[in-house]
Amino acid sequence: MTTVPYPLPRPNAQTQPYWEGAAAGELRYQRCAVCGHVQLIPRSLCEHCHGRRLDWQASERTGTVLTFTTVYRAPLPVFKDMVPYVIAIVDMDEGFRVMANAKAQGREGLEIGARVRIGFQEVHGMALPAVDAVLGAAA
């Protein structure tokens, strides 16, 4: 039986700065230099005005939980040791979005609308964003 490897992100030319930032402990996002629109996730052109000049910015790493789930059924064998694990979607204060797992301390008090800080955790040699801590309950 073949073992499916952990689905680590494979950076491409458009996302390299994002993952280089993560490796350096910096959460980066794209802002359009033409119209100022912040992209939910990085890409080669602005999703709003389709301009091609995109600046990378460093995030303050705080945001609000849009939604989350606790996964009990792993999609791949490599996730079986992790269950149950939390996946959250966080609306970052700057206007971009992060999907991330939650560290143990990041699960405490996690709820929709909660204020959270995003950090990083090392997964098979790569730094992936993770919910570091809940800063405050939903307003």
């Binding site: 499916v4 952990y6 689905p7 680590l8 992100p9 494979r10 950076p11 996302t15 993952w19 939910l40 996730i41 849009l66 939604t67 989350f68 789930t69 606790t70 996964v71 009990y72 059924r73 792993a74 999609p75 791949l76 064998p77 996730f79 992790m82 694990y85 996946i87 979607i89 979005r97 999907m99 991330a100 797992n101 929709i112 997964v123 790569m126 992936l128």
Partner: protein, 383 residues
């Protein structure tokens, strides 16, 4: 307004666990069945639309199928839009016959997703719809993605797990009236709530099945429909809505493309949701159907589960929905899953749905959703 297109043949194979079945054999059986149902010969078919397969994936599935069947249609292509594929294939077939490019288009789907893949294999294959860099590294799956929608939607509108469970219970009740359904044993709300948690708040019984099966339709032009033998079902309206693919990039977790797709289908058909006699709506999860029923306008926000508990989705309810049992209890075989909904709508409008028949059903609504509520297509069909 009219789409100038008619469903003239419909067929679905046995469903469930079918040892010895294969993707192409299921396609062939469904296709032969639908063509025979229309009273046509294979040589009358001048267009073929296929979708996709997990067990026999191919870059050119429609060409593979036509080779398998030994036919050489003038038009042949595959459409991939996940669970919206079946409805989109019907909409595309309607365009092909209405424009005069084809007379009779065969739309055919099938996969042996249960016996041809391990359960782990099916779950793993489905998880590939997640974004390779911004979702999959976090262990996302299709159920987990829908759980993210469910958690948000339930929070927003005060929906409870008991209310969602009532949707699964009604589907099983419907399936109990269909001799071919994959799962027919009645279930209770407690059984749904006590079934294994897959991704909070979705339990095993909030999720669709994994089944083998195939289904096909023949879509004919107005003139060509006169050459067919059964009762032709008119495609009165159709519409699509597309907002995103990955849930991390969805513009909203409460409003999805079903709003646009259904509005367009209703306008084209010149009807309103209140006119619909029977609905067959994509039900990959209980939350999927709740979101769709409420976004399309069949029920107020937060009311679909309550309505299900009150029997409103049952036979004799306000909106009999998924009278075959849907993906949750009838069968889910990939793109064929959505085609089962369309085939059931044809049975209802022809008045041959036996114990499941909605009395005097004249207008049916069929809806498919692909991805994570990403791609939507709605059809209004008339007897």
């Amino acid at each position: 307004m009219s789409m100038s297109a008619f469903i003239t043949g419909a067929y679905d194979t046995a469903v469930g666990e079918l040892p010895g079945s294969s993707c192409m054999a299921l396609h062939a059986e469904a296709a032969m069945g639908a063509v025979a149902d229309a009273g046509l010969k294979l040589s009358d078919i001048d267009g073929v639309l296929c979708a996709y397969s997990f067990t026999e994936p191919h870059l050119m599935l429609a060409s593979v199928f036509c080779e398998y069947l030994g036919i050489h249609p003038a038009t042949c292509l595959a459409i991939q839009a996940g669970g919206a594929s079946a409805c989109i294939m019907v909409m595309q077939a309607a365009a092909l016959v209405a424009s005069g490019q084809c007379q009779h288009v065969l739309v055919v789907t099938g996969d042996n997703r249960l016996t041809g893949l391990s359960r782990d294999g099916a779950v793993a294959a489905l998880s590939e719809v997640g974004h390779p860099q911004f979702e999959r590294p976090f262990g996302i799956s299709v159920p987990a993605s829908y759980a993210l929608v469910a958690k948000h939607y339930m929070h927003q509108y005060g929906v409870t797990s008991e209310q969602l469970a009532a949707i699964a219970v009604e589907h099983r009740r419907h399936a109990g009236r269909h001799p071919k359904a994959h799962k027919r044993d009645p279930i209770t709300v407690d059984q749904v709530l006590n079934s294994k948690m897959i991704a909070d708040p979705l339990h095993m019984l909030d999720c669709c099945l994994i089944s083998d099966g195939g289904a096909a339709l023949v879509v004919s032009s107005r003139a060509a429909a006169r050459d067919t033998k059964g009762k032709a079902i008119e495609i009165l309206g159709a519409g699509q809505g597309h907002t995103h693919e990955h849930i991390v990039a969805a513009p909203s977790l409460v409003d999805f493309g079903c709003k646009t797709s259904s509005a367009m289908a209703f306008v084209r058909a010149g009807v309103t949701p209140g006119d619909i006699d029977v609905a067959q709506i994509y039900d990959s999860f209980t939350i999927t159907l709740a979101v769709e029923l409420e976004s399309i306008g069949f029920f107020e926000r937060g009311q679909a589960g309550i309505a299900a508990a009150a029997g409103e989705l049952g036979l004799g309810g306000k909106l009999p929905c998924n009278t075959h049992g849907g993906l949750m209890s009838y069968a889910h075989s990939g793109a064929a899953g959505g085609m089962f909904h369309a085939v059931e709508a044809v049975h209802q409008l022809r008045g041959n749905a036996d114990a499941r028949q909605v009395q005097n059903a004249k207008l049916a609504f069929v809806h498919g959703d692909g991805g994570i509520l990403s791609a939507h297509c709605s059809l209004v069909l008339g007897a």
